[in-house]
Symmetry: C2
Subunit: 162 residues, 2 copies
């Protein structure tokens, strides 16, 4: 098998606008999962000593907008480190984040995606890698939410519908 690396494979796979829409599609699905949880189980139910789904969602909120803001070069406090109780509050924060992600994303300069950054002062990587990490982390934890819902006897929204 030929495993020589072809040096020509540097073509663009996806544009900034497409990646944003891809992420927002995933975020719409995650929102449906949050909606599907009963109020109490959202905050309390867990399997194998893992966190409840609400705690995972708070993590997603705490890194999404703040990550995009940093990449866009916008200073500010992290308003998404939240103790918000109640699914309705979490869903309202989720929708606020949807708008803010769209807003700050447009301030990311073209050509910045291969710059190196230190996300949140801690995580070293290129801009594209950092954004992919945030999206992949959401898919990862949402997959865990699917197991929680199934084990509660609730059928989650299909993975392929965004």
């Amino acid at each position: 098998m030929n495993t020589t690396i072809t040096e020509t494979q540097t073509a663009s796979v996806i544009t900034s606008a497409e990646l944003l829409e891809h992420w927002q599609g995933h975020r719409r699905l995650t929102r449906r999962l949050i909606e599907a949880f009963p109020e109490k189980e959202f905050f309390e139910y867990s399997i194998g000593g893992m966190r409840p789904f609400a705690s995972m969602v708070k993590e997603l909120l705490s890194i999404a907008v703040p990550g995009v803001k940093q990449i866009a070069g916008v200073e500010g406090e992290n308003e998404y480190i939240t103790q918000a109780a109640g699914k309705a509050n979490i869903l309202a924060l989720w929708d606020k984040a949807t708008d803010e992600i769209n807003h700050y994303w447009r301030q990311i300069p073209d050509g910045k995606f291969h710059d190196n950054i230190l996300l949140f002062g801690k995580y070293k990587g290129t801009v594209w890698f950092s954004i992919f990490y945030v999206i992949d982390n959401e898919i990862h934890h949402r997959g865990q939410g699917y197991v929680y819902l199934r084990s509660l006897g609730i059928e989650p929204h299909p993975f392929w519908e965004r």
Copy 2:
């Protein structure tokens, strides 16, 4: 909040070679999850009426190489629709797929990522979307494997190490 779409955000986010390495990083992590399962539980354990992790892994194998082959324009049977029993056999198939993904990926013409295709004769979308679907689907099911392992009292390899 300004929500006007900026038409300039068409810059490349990630290259073909970077996306391949990103996927293979995820595949290395999935391989570690497979390794972490006890033999019996890999094929039999499940939560909430879901499939055992082995069935999910067989799905991942059945679409990874065949998907890349189709995108690269290479004809052939799907050798990855497998009834293979035994974790060792699945791991051997996984490693074969690793090499074949690298091999066929290099045959994807630059500039093809925005072409429309009908993946496996069924799923309509651009090439980039189809590849992202395959990767995202792996992250999704692997996240479910994390819950299975945790509920078995086994600590999975960290998500951020690839």
